[in-house]
């Protein structure tokens, strides 16, 4: 679904939707909001007769309020980017505040420590600032940010390999990183959950789940095809299924997942 369409769905009061649009929502989100439902001031959908949250009313496990939210909470990121390109410091600060936590988490899932992630984040912003003219208004901004972040991460990885260790040690390290949870941030359940995955798989899952990017956006960020991204996700899920089905796996072990 295109960003503009997602925004339209998110912004439209539910009463104004046509029946055909409801059908489209059902198909797209897999939940069935009643047309009689009302959109309260907080933006949550409730059944008018019972006042219960729409989730229970609709009889599905999917929280429809979440489903109606745009895929990216940073919906006007593109507009902010345009202002940033025009030299607006306020817009630049807002972009930094919105994107940095996601990027930091992205780096933390891949690197050894929080200090490394901080350094990578700083380096990424310097790079983003230097090449901000390469962002085109109207294009999705998240893939642009993540493409640069990936470049910085790969660069950093290569530099650290050359300076700190030989090729053999690198292999040992990447194996270690791929098989053991990082100790950098024990509170981060996602890192522990993604630890068994390879670097590429972890990266794709991070983008899909944390950044909320679509498959096409992930493909843009990773300079690959949608088919290739789908394949990585499929393999990642297969590995996760194996890990989670193992007898030692407890649902509560991954920080707030219970």
């Amino acid at each position: 679904m295109r960003t503009a369409e997602k925004l339209r769905w998110a912004a439209l009061p539910i009463q104004q939707l046509k029946t055909s649009e409801f059908t489209h929502l059902r198909v797209t989100f897999g939940c069935a909001p009643s047309k009689r439902s009302i959109w309260d001031r907080n933006g949550s959908a409730t059944a008018p007769d019972s006042g219960e949250p729409l989730r229970e009313h609709a009889g599905t496990d999917i929280d429809c309020r979440k489903a109606f939210e745009p895929m990216h909470p940073d919906s006007n990121l593109e507009a902010l980017m345009a202002r940033y390109q025009q030299g607006d410091f306020g817009a630049a600060t807002e972009v930094i505040e919105r994107i940095s936590p996601q990027l930091h988490r992205f780096f933390l899932a891949q690197s050894q420590s929080r200090i490394d992630a901080d350094d990578l984040l700083q380096e990424t912003w310097l790079r983003i600032h230097r090449v901000r003219h390469t962002y085109r208004t109207g294009e999705p901004a998240l893939p642009w940010f993540y493409a640069i972040a990936r470049h910085v991460r790969v660069d950093h990885y290569r530099k650290s390999v050359r300076t700190a260790m030989g090729e053999r040690q690198l292999e040992a390290l990447s194996e270690e990183v791929a098989t053991a949870p990082t100790e950098s941030d024990p509170a981060d359940g996602l890192n522990a959950l993604l630890a068994p995955l390879s670097e590429n798989q972890r990266e794709v899952i991070e983008m899909l789940k944390v950044a909320g990017m679509s498959l096409e956006e992930v493909a843009r960020a990773t300079s690959s095809s949608v088919g290739s991204v789908k394949q990585k996700v499929h393999r990642a899920y297969k590995k996760l299924r194996e890990t989670m089905s193992a007898p030692g796996f407890r649902k509560g072990q991954s920080g707030g997942l219970s």
Partner: protein, 241 residues
Amino acid sequence: MKEEEIDDFLTRAARVPHDLKPETLERIADSIKPSLRSVSPLPPTWVLAGGLVLICAAVSLAGAARAGFFGFAKMDLLERLLVFPALVILVWLAASEFVHAMIPGSPRRISPGALLTFVSAALLAVFSFLFRDYQTDHFFSIGIVCLLTGFLHAIPAALLGWLLIRRGFAVNSILAGLVAGVLGGLAGVGMLELHCPNFQAAHVLVWHTAVVPLSGAAGALVGWMLRFGASSGARKRANSK
């Protein structure tokens, strides 16, 4: 365990708020503030790709004008109508991909490796359909000259192309170099088709087509050297600090 359950696990884990120190954000904002000024975005892809096509055409025509349009003069109408439009289409494809390679987060329709394969296969198909003279007179001596001539025209085409979109940013300089090389190689092939009057099938299929992979490999090598150079430079700067 079902896929939905894994999905639910991941979604819930992702929703755990991620704290980032406010000082870090302030430091980042402060670091960009001094150099914050208005910048003009890059032109649309079709403008840049059009510019690249014109560069390739200019290089090919300039080279053929200097060496002579013997190949073009010897071609019949069908050969002209098949060879040059095919080259224009392939140059447009390579130019679009080069632009995409220089803009982060651009959609990738075809991978650089697939582009090289597709371009080479398309040239082989067109040449094998048109040229049916299977003699191989002076195969190596004349062939090497054509290969070098094509390659020497690929270099300025790729350099001028890079100059046109130097404001872009290649997230993978090796692959961007490969695409630039393919684009330059097509300019070299264009020059050879305009100039070379040798229509022996083996000569055209091997030596003319080989300009594209050779230029692509050279472009990838330059991209690798740039990446290596950038990494080494950064390391030296870090050590000097």
